[in-house]
Amino acid sequence: MAAVVRRNSSSSSSDRRPEPNLLARVSNSQIVAKGKQVSSDAAFVAKKLLRSTGKAAWIAGTTFLILAVPLIIEMDREAQYNDLELQQQSLLGVGAPPQK
């Protein structure tokens, strides 16, 4: 890219006549063509990558939503129940030691 810019600026400073010709030559040059191809390839790959990561994220997210979320909620509830029971037992436990 830098080479293209330099060539452009040098052509504008030297003379005007062959400018369109030079511009055409520059835009038709191999480097520009290659650059174009590389950038379009990069865009294509990026797009594909983005799409596939998006899809993977969607699958992972929905799978998590179905497999893990209910389990986490239920385990949390269970833990709450256990806490409550423990609390009640410790409250009652003040008078309970004779149980031993």
Partner: protein, 313 residues
């Protein structure tokens, strides 16, 4: 809690030593092995945790006991039903079904009848004639011709083996046999012959069971190979894997699942190699009131099925 712990530990230790003594005794006496579980139930644990009854739409089940032995059940199911069509694709049509059932349960005799509004009738009998001989029969009658079938099983059980004869319509004859070989291992085999699609086959099965795990394997000449492994992490948690392979059609599926039994709920989840994720939640809201949530997602086919339901009674 702290006060209760020591007796629990002691009890456990006692139970452990008891089981150890038992084990030693069993290892000595190979003639006194436990009775194996029936041949068709060898995958029981993995089936229980990997294959709950998934449904789509709404379901409502209500059952009421009239007296000690007799109970009636009503069930409503509404939702899309898959109909296979030409071209391999399935499309869904909404249906609504009401099912009326009557059950009679007695320690020796169990009768179950079910009638659906679309004319299907299902009847089951389970009768323990003596302690060793049992009879089971299952009949399904539909209004469509050639879709009704019935099958009867006679179970015979001895100290360390079980065998079963089965016969059904379409000249179906079968026999299974399962024998405990060591205290942990049971081996079995089956033979069947069907007259109408003119098929016959044999199958073998093995089941290895300890307190911590259950491993089963089954091979049949129909091409089916089924292996399953269930690990009991604790009393409440089971992890199960299953591998199914058909060597005639060469398709294989593997699935992994969990089964959590909590005080208020039971959660079962499963993922398989076809990209199908499913979960089944049973939440006990009140005694006798269970809320069901069923989810099934097939990423490959883009098929999503969700259902909710209520079981009363």
């Amino acid at each position: 809690m702290a006060g209760q712990a020591p007796p629990g530990v002691l009890g456990q230790a006692a139970a452990q030593s008891d089981s150890k003594i038992d084990e030693v005794k069993k290892k000595v006496d190979y003639l006194d092995l436990p009775t194996p579980i029936p041949y068709e139930e060898i995958h029981r644990e993995s089936l229980m945790s990997l294959k709950p009854e998934f449904f789509e739409g709404l379901r409502f089940d209500f059952s009421k006991g009239l007296n000690q032995n007799f109970s009636l059940s009503h069930s409503v199911l509404m939702g899309p039903m898959e109909l296979p069509s030409q071209g391999g694709e399935t499309f869904k049509t909404p249906i609504a079904n009401y099912e009326f059932g009557a059950n009679y349960a007695d320690p020796k005799l169990m009768l179950v009848g079910r009638v659906l509004t679309d004319g299907r009738l299902n009847a089951r009998v389970k009768w323990d004639i003596t302690d060793d001989i049992g009879l089971r029969a299952n009949a399904q009658l539909t209004s469509e011709p050639h879709m009704s079938h019935c099958i009867a099983h006679i179970d015979y059980k001895r100290k360390n083996w079980r065998s079963q004869f089965q016969f059904g319509n379409g000249a179906l004859l079968g026999m299974t046999y399962i024998q405990t070989v060591t205290p942990n291992l049971a081996l079995g085999g089956e033979v069947f012959w069907a007259g109408v699609p003119r098929k016959s086959g044999v199958g073998y099965a093995a089941r290895y069971e300890t307190d911590k795990m259950v491993a089963t394997g089954q091979v049949a000449s129909t091409g089916m190979v089924a292996l399953s492994y269930v690990q009991k992490i604790s009393q409440k948690v089971l992890l199960a894997t299953e591998f199914m392979y058909n060597y005639l059609s060469r398709d294989a599926t593997a699935s992994v699942g969990y089964d959590y039994q909590l005080r208020q709920a039971r959660v079962r989840g499963k993922i398989d190699s076809n990209g199908c994720v499913s979960a089944f939640l049973e939440e006990r809201l009140n005694p006798g009131l269970i809320f069901l949530l069923s989810a099934e997602m097939d990423h490959k086919k883009k098929d999503y099925k969700f259902g909710f339901g209520l079981t009363v009674g």
